[in-house]
């Protein structure tokens, strides 16, 4: 059945609108600009070919990210594996504790901004890219797309408790790595 112009236009407009953040997610998935470009291009072509499967009015962003995530799994020959990670699930507030120990008191200074100002975007991205794959994917979707834990669970095809655990542990590991980078920065 031929689609009317009025249904085709919003689809392509929606697609154009998600590309920027989808590229950032693809960068964190693949950790490589060339692979991220290939992944996003393939996902875009796939989305255009299968636009009939998108239900107008439903969540386009989630629909597109599902296509891209499945492609990434195939590209990476991804196998779901549980990673042995040396981090608890509860907030360690590691950076906060380190800042206090270093004399960066929140009462007198803005420690979070102060330490992040020492790192550029590439360093922060490198710290995230260093996380185990499953943690990196959950955290990228959480930080870049602001998706709920339930939406991320549906996208990554895992229980919501697993997503919660990966995001919480991922943040704990990330804080330790960011602090190590700050220490190494002159």
């Amino acid at each position: 059945m031929a689609e009317s112009v009025s249904t085709i236009r919003p689809f392509e407009s929606e697609l154009a609108m998600v590309l920027d953040t989808a590229y950032r997610v693809a960068l964190r998935y693949t950790r490589n600009p060339d692979d991220a470009a290939d992944l996003l291009q393939e996902a875009t072509l796939r989305a255009l070919k299968s636009k009939d499967t998108f239900v107008p009015g439903s969540n386009f962003r989630a629909w597109f990210l599902t296509i891209m995530t499945r492609l990434w799994w195939r590209m990476a020959k991804k196998i779901h594996t549980e990673v042995d990670v040396d981090a608890g699930e509860e907030p360690e507030v590691y950076l906060y504790q380190q800042c206090r120990a270093a004399g960066l008191h929140p009462e007198t200074i803005d420690p979070a901004r102060t330490i992040l100002a020492k790192l550029d975007a590439d360093q922060v991205s490198a710290a995230i890219d260093d996380l185990p794959e499953d943690y990196r994917a959950a955290l990228a979707l959480n930080l870049l797309e602001n998706l709920s834990y339930q939406e991320i669970a549906e996208l990554l095809e895992c229980p919501i408790g697993t997503v919660r655990s990966r995001i919480h542990r991922g943040r704990n590991i990330l804080q330790r790595r960011l602090w190590a980078m700050v220490q190494e920065t002159p």
Partner: protein, 81 residues
């Protein structure tokens, strides 16, 4: 229904879920009640909130190459015709 107030440990345990808006309305109320009265936990929460915002801002600095953008827009335009 009146619930027992959260202490520091119970509040910090929920900090990530609170930042991500993943708590129930009742839990949000309890966390906020504690943060309103505990300077230490409020400072920790403020730190984590700013930190997440700064990390997100740094991650958002990655921009799509113009050559890729042009290629994708051409695919979209072609599908539109």
């Amino acid at each position: 229904m009146s619930l027992t107030a959260y202490d520091c440990a119970e509040t910090i345990r929920r900090l990530n879920d609170y930042l991500d808006r993943e708590l129930s309305p009742e839990e949000v109320e309890m966390v906020e009640a504690h943060l309103a009265t505990c300077e230490h936990c409020a400072a920790e929460y403020g730190f984590e909130q700013v930190l997440l915002g700064e990390i997100k801002a740094k991650m958002a600095q990655a921009t799509m190459p113009e050559e890729l953008r042009a290629r994708l827009q051409a695919f979209i335009a072609k599908a539109r015709d």
